[in-house]
Symmetry: C2
């Protein structure tokens, strides 16, 4: 299997496969005499593993940890669980941050007439001209 086929089979672009190799996330694969990469089923399996981990939002570093655990027959599932839980917390942080932004913005949008006139509480809030809408006094 050459890199194009491996890319299709794994859902990771050729570019990213080369990148993952260059940073050591995956080991260099075999090459033909002329330098073309040859991917075994095993190699593609690892790429699919990465693809799924990536879909779950794991960073390259976390994927490295997961791959190492995956390939370690004597791993403890507790270690895997710890990585996953840490990632859940990261996700929660991001989600909460975005939701906070969303709430504030939603509030401002609700109070904006959205017509031809220039008066606008959204700009008012950004310029802090007006009476602190929302901002933390519940």
């Amino acid at each position: 299997m050459n890199i194009g086929q491996a890319a299709k089979a794994s859902g990771i672009s050729e570019k990213m496969i080369r990148y993952y190799e260059s940073i050591g996330l995956i080991a260099p694969v075999r090459r033909t005499a002329s330098g073309y990469r040859i991917f075994s089923e095993q190699d593609v399996h690892a790429l699919r593993f990465i693809s799924r981990a990536r879909d779950l939002g794991f960073s390259v570093e976390q994927m490295g940890n997961l791959l190492a655990l995956w390939q370690d027959r004597h791993r403890a599932s507790a270690d895997v669980k710890a990585v996953a839980q840490a990632h859940i917390e990261e996700l929660d942080d991001k989600i909460e941050k975005l939701q906070g932004m969303r709430r504030t913005l939603e509030h401002l949008v609700k109070h904006c007439h959205g017509d031809e006139r220039p008066e606008c509480p959204i700009l008012g809030d950004l310029a802090a001209e007006s009476l602190e809408l929302e901002a933390g006094t519940p």
Copy 2:
């Protein structure tokens, strides 16, 4: 006011102030004979505007639009509202994506024993060895 004071007053780092100037988000401010930047109250006001917009997750490009609207006396609030609403949709997309990841991960974590044994549904799912946990057959 020099850049250090403007940074403290606005909550934007010196670095980022220079950067925002370099990319044209803010106009170049006055300089002393020796080249030090001098920030007026107006300049700092604009920086605070940017700081708040940034806290709401607006991109540099969006902040540029908002600044332009802010400084346009004849703006229509509808235009501001449109920018804000577009951003809310972006936030919603991001939130939904993260929540999807979180749900899947939570599900996997729940089924992982988290002990000394190597068996782990989290790795199993990433390797797609097992019976498609979660993945779209409700």
